[in-house]
């Protein structure tokens, strides 16, 4: 996803000299061409995320459209107050980009597991949050977020769902349906849509037809799609590579309750309030914590039996 993000950003930077990319000293072998091509539009600010976010705000207040980049929790949690007080309160035009959502950096250990970012940032007013599910969506997302303005958080994943043919265009706040089915709705955010698609195919073999929804926008969230799934399908299962508290599943619960709509069945797949001291590949940790395709299949079958 990082490469798709950079390709799209390069296109944008070519046309718009006000786009400035700041990196917190991450992106070795990634940003060199961008730096050469766009002098005055790229700064490696060093390992200083608080300063990076403050700088971004100052640049934005002077008319720049700023992208801050780092990995894991560094551009988000490390400088959360700068995001809140500086960027959000001042209606800055900044897209915060974190490479390494969820367990992307699984083997690097707990410090590099970004598994509370969505919930923490979701609570901030004036914030748009997008976790693209496919490579195409990644490029579309950065383009739309810069065009939209305001403060955004773009969560990049090391994995992505395969580019399934999909008619609907990318619109912030509008979910995309990848499969139709009435027995259950599987709603996923980020690259784990890949596991969700595999699970859906397996369920279909077993006679269970799933509607599969890619919820790339966590904030704003597509209320209509959630309400439709609650009313017109056999239930909702949410899938996120993230802590259960406050993430995608929680956001969907909020929409249902706020609209007095009760899904017939409901289950959240995600991390159950733990920090992982176990390391491993992203796919290994997904299986370890019950969120890979096999786990999704089992949960759905159990849920529909219950």
């Amino acid at each position: 996803m990082r490469d798709a993000f950079l390709a799209a950003l390069t296109n944008l930077a070519e046309k718009d000299k006000d786009i400035v990319l700041l990196t917190g000293d991450l992106g070795y072998g990634v940003f060199e061409q961008f730096e050469i091509r766009f002098p005055g539009q790229y700064f490696n600010v060093g390992v200083s995320e608080q300063n990076m976010t403050g700088l971004a705000t100052g640049l934005s207040l002077e008319g720049k459209k700023v992208v801050t980049y780092s990995i894991g929790n560094f551009p988000t949690l490390r400088c959360l107050e700068q995001i809140r007080n500086d960027a959000c309160y001042h209606d800055a035009n900044i897209v915060i980009v974190a490479s390494g959502g969820g367990f992307s950096y699984g083997s690097l250990g707990m410090s590099h597991h970004a598994t509370e970012d969505l919930s923490i940032l979701r609570s901030l007013p004036n914030m748009t949050i997008v976790a693209p599910c496919t490579l195409k969506e990644t490029g579309d997302a950065i383009t739309a977020m810069i065009k939209n303005g305001g403060v955004g958080y773009l969560r990049l994943d090391k994995t992505n769902a395969e580019a399934t043919y999909i008619e609907s265009p990318f619109i912030i706040g509008k979910a995309r349906r990848y499969e139709n089915g009435d027995d259950i709705t599987l709603i996923a955010t980020g690259g784990i849509l890949g596991d969700t698609n595999i699970a859906s195919a397996e369920l279909r073999k077993r006679g269970i037809n799933s509607r599969v929804v890619g919820m790339h926008s966590i904030k704003p969230i597509d209320k209509n799609e959630i309400i439709d799934a609650a009313i017109n399908t056999g239930g909702i299962v949410t899938i996120e590579e993230h802590n259960k508290d406050g993430g995608l599943g929680s956001a969907i619960c909020e929409v249902c309750m706020d609209n007095s709509v009760m899904p017939k069945k409901f289950f959240r797949i995600g991390l159950d309030n733990i920090y992982s001291s176990i390391v491993g590949s992203q796919q290994y940790l997904r299986s370890q914590y019950g969120m890979d395709s096999k786990a999704i299949v089992k949960k759905v079958i159990d849920l529909l039996k219950a």
Binding site: N51, L55, G58, L61, K64, Q82, N85
Partner: protein, 272 residues
């Protein structure tokens, strides 16, 4: 613009507003405002270019109060220089007011940036200075910080960046009153040798009497090509009201009753 000799009057007005606002609002930080009243008078009365009737004039100098708890002083300076009506100052800290205890830009022309949590102003000012360099604009960015604020790591992150990028359009003024929230800066987390610290970070540093208007003006003019400027302004917390001077109590206490009367009387005497 004021003449330097008239800055005394402006600084006294800011001080008087500070006593009034913190008394009416029963709010804290009067000592912090009195400490920097002369710096504000020099910036708003002499050093900075701005148009009160066109607060977003692109060529204006930018000012950020990073020690946001002294925001009432900025509101006072903005009222005295025509950005906001003087009567508005009475709403400070009141129910429904947009003049918050810590300085906020929302609805207040002339405030570039809201602060309140320490260590935020310098990074943002540094971003503004970088933008001016990128766009080849000639205005300066002034940041007023407290000395206690320099406990924050984000200050030093920005200090590194500003010197690395030779942001000589950036001026930091540090209100060096040597008192922070509970005790002295040196007792709490010693800053000395303070000038050397900033010099070793690659800044051009000038130490001045932070209550001497001419010296403050000279310091602001001592911009050094290729280096950001740090003015260590040696001040007295509570300056101008003798019983508040150098007394940490007035970081928190609001002047009421006899204390209020005495403070105003002392300032009036100086104004005479």
């Amino acid at each position: 613009m004021f003449k330097i000799k008239n800055l005394k009057r402006l600084s006294l007005k800011i001080r008087r507003h500070a006593i009034n606002m913190t008394s009416v609002g029963k709010s804290a930080h009067v000592g912090s405002i009195l400490s920097m009243a002369d710096i504000l008078a020099v910036l708003y009365g002499f050093v900075m270019s701005y148009k009160a009737d066109d607060p977003k004039w692109p060529e204006r100098d930018r000012f950020i109060l990073s020690k946001g708890h002294a925001g009432a002083g900025v509101y006072a300076a903005l009222a005295e220089t025509g950005f906001i009506p003087l009567e508005k100052l009475r709403s400070h800290y009141q129910d429904g007011s947009d003049l918050s205890g810590h300085v906020s830009h929302k609805g207040i022309p002339g405030v570039e940036f809201s602060t309140g949590s320490l260590g935020h102003g310098l990074p943002v000012a540094t971003g503004m200075a970088l933008a001016a360099k990128i766009d080849n604009n000639k205005h300066n960015i002034y940041v007023l910080m407290s000395d206690g604020e320099c406990n924050e790591g984000s200050v030093w992150e920005a200090a590194l960046f500003a010197q690395h990028h030779k942001l000589d359009n950036l001026v930091v003024i540090i209100d060096r009153n040597r008192l922070q929230s509970i005790k002295s800066t040196e007792y709490t987390l010693s800053l000395e040798p303070f000038v050397n610290k900033w010099q070793s970070f690659g800044w051009h540093v000038v130490k001045v009497d932070g209550h001497n208007h001419q010296k403050l003006v000279d310091a602001c003019n001592s911009i050094f090509v290729g280096k950001p400027l740090c003015i260590v302004a040696e001040t007295i917390k509570g300056k101008g009201v003798s019983f508040m001077e150098n007394n940490i109590l007035w970081h928190y206490r609001s002047p009421q009753g006899e204390e209020y009367d005495a403070a105003i009387a002392e300032l009036e005497e100086k104004n005479a």
